[in-house]
């Protein structure tokens, strides 16, 4: 057991910031490669014409999930040292809905907006200014909404804990769901493309 390296003290905070910058470069690079600098491509997900968002997101989730799971089984990574955002179920459900509406209204999410700005998209820049306004406004009003924000605190909670099923089995289920989803996504895209042709 020697990973996460940072948690085992292999390097300090300042090197950590260099790692952050490099990880960010990789993140931005692949987001742009996927086409996530384009709001039209992102928004097409919600009209079933281009399901790249789903495909990229779930391929990434499955890749990282399988990697970290097997590295923990093999004793390389101590999974308990990988930070897990605590679950506050109701605010996270409401936050997800609000962010989802914002996604189809604005066309980017925060990470993809950065990539949009980097490739010259003016709408991505305007959206990013909007994010600043939203975060600032929320923070100013925080004393009024802190009750709701801190409601349904369930601590660090994983799906294996919720369902009582073994971690490995859930990993397998997510992989199956993703593969089924990819198959469905390809089918839907073909159907939509055929429909468009018939219209024209």
């Amino acid at each position: 057991m020697m990973a996460p390296f940072f948690k085992f003290g292999l390097f300090g905070e300042n090197i950590g910031l260099v790692v952050a910058f490099l990880v960010g470069i990789g993140f931005g690079f692949f987001l742009e490669r996927a086409g996530f600098n384009s709001a039209r491509k992102l928004a097409a997900q919600f009209y079933f014409t281009d399901l790249t968002v789903f495909k990229v997101m779930f391929t990434a989730i499955v890749t990282a999930m399988l990697g970290v799971y097997w590295l923990s089984v093999l004793g390389v990574v101590d999974l308990s040292l990988v930070y897990l955002t605590p679950t506050f179920l109701v605010p996270q459900i409401v936050g997800g809905l609000v962010l989802g509406v914002g996604f189809v209204v604005g066309g980017y999410c925060p990470g993809t907006a950065c990539v949009g700005i980097a490739t010259g998209r003016i709408d991505a820049f305007v959206l990013f200014v909007g994010i600043f306004a939203g975060v600032w406004g929320f923070s100013e009003l925080y004393p009024l909404v802190s009750g709701f924000y801190n409601a349904t605190d369930m601590g660090q909670l994983t799906l294996p804990q919720v369902t009582g099923l073994p971690y490995g089995l859930l990993v397998f289920v997510v992989v199956l769901m993703a593969l089924g989803g990819f198959y469905g996504a390809e089918w839907v895209e073909k159907k939509m493309a055929a429909g468009k042709k018939a219209e024209a």
Partner: protein, 173 residues
């Protein structure tokens, strides 16, 4: 800006594996995942703290981003997001995709599109604060860690976007 024609995007599964490996590397090296919206809060806190430190100290929504003895900008997510800009620009430049433009459907004016972009951004900022993360920090990172709240969040993002897509169809189609 770029004379050569833009290259097509990568196969989504290939790009997804690349993204997943970056996320995995972050887990293994740092013991944490990716993020984006948190850097915005750090930046706002840094700015406000320079002009109104008492205001920042009095509100936990800002104060949690303060760092002892150094700027709130000396933060992991801030450096990561700076990298996202650089990585996105590098990829776009190599593929001739850096163009000054506004992304929109053919049936909406530029100014209306920008108004929607701003409103979408505000909603996104509020949603990310409420949910303690956005598509990067919650859906992607928490999804790969089988985080219960992240999966609930992710399903709701898709529900919200699909549920509201009908009202936005003129902007995109």
């Amino acid at each position: 800006m770029d004379a050569k024609p833009a290259q097509p995007y990568w196969n989504p599964y290939v790009a997804g594996i690349g993204l997943g490996l970056v996320l995995l590397a972050s887990f293994v090296i740092m013991g944490r995942g990716l993020g984006a919206s948190g850097a915005v809060a750090s930046t706002i806190t840094a700015g406000l703290n320079a002009v109104a430190p008492a205001h920042v100290a009095g509100n936990p929504a800002f104060a949690e981003y303060l760092k002892e003895g150094t700027s709130p900008l000396k933060d992991w997510l801030v450096f990561e997001v700076l990298g996202v800009f650089v990585g996105g620009f590098l990829s776009g430049m190599l593929a001739h995709r850096v163009t000054k433009t506004v992304e929109k459907g053919p049936n909406i004016t530029v100014s209306r599109r920008l108004v929607f972009a701003f409103i979408g951004g505000v909603l996104m900022g509020v949603g990310a604060k409420l949910a303690r993360g956005c598509t990067s920090g919650q859906a992607l990172t928490g999804g790969a860690l089988l985080n219960a709240g992240s999966w609930a969040f992710m399903l709701m993002v898709f529900a919200g976007a699909y549920g509201f897509a009908y009202f936005m169809r003129r902007q995109w189609q």
